[in-house]
Amino acid sequence: MAKSQEQLHERRSLSSLIYDPQFRSYAFQILLLLVLVGFGWWIVQNTVTNLQAQNKTTGFDFLSNTAGFDIGFSLVPYSRESTYLEVFYVGILNTLLVAITGIVLATLLGFVLGIARLSSNWIIARLATIYIEIIRNIPLLLQLFFWYFAVLKSMPSVRSSLELVGGAVFLNNRGLYLPNPNANSAFLWVQIAIALVLVGGFFLQRWSIRRVELTGERFPYIPVFLVLLIVVPTVTWFVSGAEWNITYPELNRFNFQGGIQLPPEFVALLFGLVIYTAAFIGETVRAGIVSVSSGQTEAAQSLGLKNNDRLNLVVIPQAMRVIVPPLTSQYLNLTKNSSLAVAIGYPDIVNVFMGTALNQSGKAIEVIFMTMMVYLTLSLLTSMIMNWYNARIALTER
């Protein structure tokens, strides 16, 4: 009798263990850990065996080896004798260059498109809609191919370049040629002046908001700031003796000399990224503006706010709250999409490092790991900055 009681108790404790959520949760997590570790171990074992069979070593020593190949476009000095590490840097810089330029231009075009799509002008709204619906639904890679192979590569040759902006800008199948505004060393003072005005403007805005809140008196900080932004650098310009030394691209016997020369790959990639991403940003902006209900506008009107104040104080702050999170992911998308450079030969990190450097050195694991880390870092950085901005403008509730 006592024995069966004991058995019953044992069985109950075992069954209650199975139905105990705490125990089940631990058991499941340990099981998952074991499966993951086992899977990881299996992969590592296979990789080691495979690498041994191919007589390959691992490690990051190869980074100091000479790369021995040329890169068509680089922001820092680079030559055939440079190392793989320098290839890595050149790649990152080129990626950043096209991503940052692209983000700035796509934001401008995107906001214009978003606002145009909501325009009361029927034909403008229709044109913006057509643009967005066409561009959004065609793969970016196809658009890049179009810009590069169909447009830029079929541009006239150097001899018969297209002249734009009254002969200051040239476009041919070797790229885009812009005038280079070289400034002398005194220009540094002008830059410092601009930076000071920008910092000052920030404090001016905070001071004027405080003043409005305390006394109700308004201070026209935006006009004052704009006047300062024009006057102070101009005065500094003349006082410091800074001057432009613009060099225009000029046609020599075989090619253009002077000015800024942008390779066709860069131009095509930038064009494609900006045009594609702007369509998505336009939709984001439109959604943000539409999300501010018309009651808000009407309430602002009945409070007697002027047109500008209504936009600046009521509509835009609320719209930005909706716009910023998806805008962040568009920026990230643009940065990631810049990796399509590899398809048209712009030397970004995927092209020169994950492509050429990987093929030459054979260090697949290290190279892919480093490249992925670059994108991971860029993604995390962008999200951090935008999260900080988003937290600033987010709705502060009680």
């Binding site: 495979n50 002008n121 991971l376």
Partner: protein, 375 residues
């Protein structure tokens, strides 16, 4: 007496028509095109733009285009527009790649079955969706492998090197959706799990794949997968791309599903608990049906980007639709100034039809699902 007052009107005045400037076409134009001076300027600029582009485009696409030709001679004429004859000549290649002509019925059959199942699944309010879902997620992949690859049931084998064109694009997109939907649901549930280890593993997986571009994932799949597998295993090129696309898409799908899970009010979870349902039953019977229904538009949108992203496999050496178009863009016999452009236009219009159709469907579902029920 009162009748004598001369200045009081005795009958109603007839309604005057509204001013011409307020109604009809004139009124509409005033309101929508020429409201004020900046608006009128914009309208005139836009009209000028249209007058400049539309005839040019029409002439290029239709007016001066070459529709019937044996080779590129006609397309090389200086005033010739798009060279459609070249696309028509290469059409089979763009759709099936190197698949043998005599076996075209096999991909055709697979696509008809797939199209029927998808229509049934996406058409709202049709019965027996469960059967279709099982057929689509289990039956169709098996049928596709048997039919497309061949080698059994007396069908001659067609190796994957011969696959190409739109067929490959559709295969990669479908496999992406078939694999990523269930795995994405699992990962989304994992990310919202109360078990810390499960949660952080899910977050790490999702964020890693979402942070890197698809092209690096494809490179990784094509270079590193052979290293990860036991020595001597060979893994097919198309399969490598499929693994990459599936991993990538799973992470995105998980985020879409998570959005649906988060949108459900807490009361639903609590109600499921109160009914005494265990985790799997409460998810299967209460949470997921509601969450997934709400994210149908999101799922379709992520499928649109997947469909566009499949074009990237042409960079790792597969011949999808864009790959085949790009491969023939320098074909000597059709050499013409607008040869490449015409090919791109063709590919673009196919991609556009698919993506635009899907986005319309997603908007339609959004309107249908938007039936109040908002907090």
């Amino acid at each position: 007496m009162s009748n004598d007052i001369a200045y009081v009107r005795k009958e109603m005045a007839p309604d005057m028509p509204p001013p011409v400037t307020q109604t009809g076409i004139m009124g509409w134009m005033r309101k929508n095109l020429f409201l004020d001076i900046p608006n009128s300027l914009m309208t005139i600029l836009a009209l000028a733009f249209l007058v400049w582009t539309v005839p040019t485009l029409f002439n290029f696409l239709i007016g001066n285009a070459v529709f019937v030709a044996e080779d590129g001679t006609l397309c090389r004429a200086p005033e010739a527009g798009a060279c459609w004859a070249y696309v028509i000549d290469r059409f089979d290649f763009y759709i099936y790649g190197f698949y043998p002509d005599s076996e075209y019925w096999r991909p055709n059959l697979v696509f008809i079955v797939a199209a029927l199942l998808i229509t049934h699944l996406l058409w709202p309010d049709l019965p027996y969706k469960g059967i279709s879902a099982i057929a689509f997620f289990v039956g169709l992949p098996i049928l596709a492998v048997i039919l497309l690859n061949g080698g059994s049931f007396g069908l001659p084998e067609v190796t994957t090197e011969k696959w190409g064109g739109l067929m490959v694009t559709l295969i990669i997109a479908s496999v992406g959706i078939v694999v990523s939907l269930p795995l994405g649901v699992v990962l989304a549930l994992g990310r919202r799990s109360h078990m810390p280890f499960v949660k952080y593993v899910s977050i790490a997986f999702i964020e890693l794949w979402r942070a890197v571009p698809l092209i690096t994932v494809l490179f990784m799949a094509s270079v590193m997968l052979p290293l990860f597998l036991p020595e001597g295993t060979t893994i097919d090129k198309i399969l490598r791309a499929l693994v990459g696309v599936a991993l990538f898409q799973t992470a995105y799908m998980a985020e879409v599903v998570r959005g649906g899970l988060q949108a459900l009010p807490k009361g639903q979870y609590e109600a499921a608990n109160a009914l005494g349902l265990n985790y799997f039953k409460s998810m299967y019977l209460i949470i997921l049906p509601q969450a997934l229904k709400h994210v149908i538009p999101g799922i379709v949108n992520s499928f649109i980007s997947l469909f566009k992203d499949t074009s990237l496999v042409s960079i790792v050496g597969l011949f999808d639709l864009l790959g085949t178009v790009q491969a023939t863009s320098a074909l000597v016999e059709w050499k013409a100034p607008h040869q490449a452009t015409t090919g791109y236009l063709f590919a673009a219009s196919i991609f556009w039809i698919f993506c635009f159709g899907m986005s319309r469907y997603s908007m339609y579902m959004e309107r249908r699902l938007d039936t109040g029920h908002k907090e």
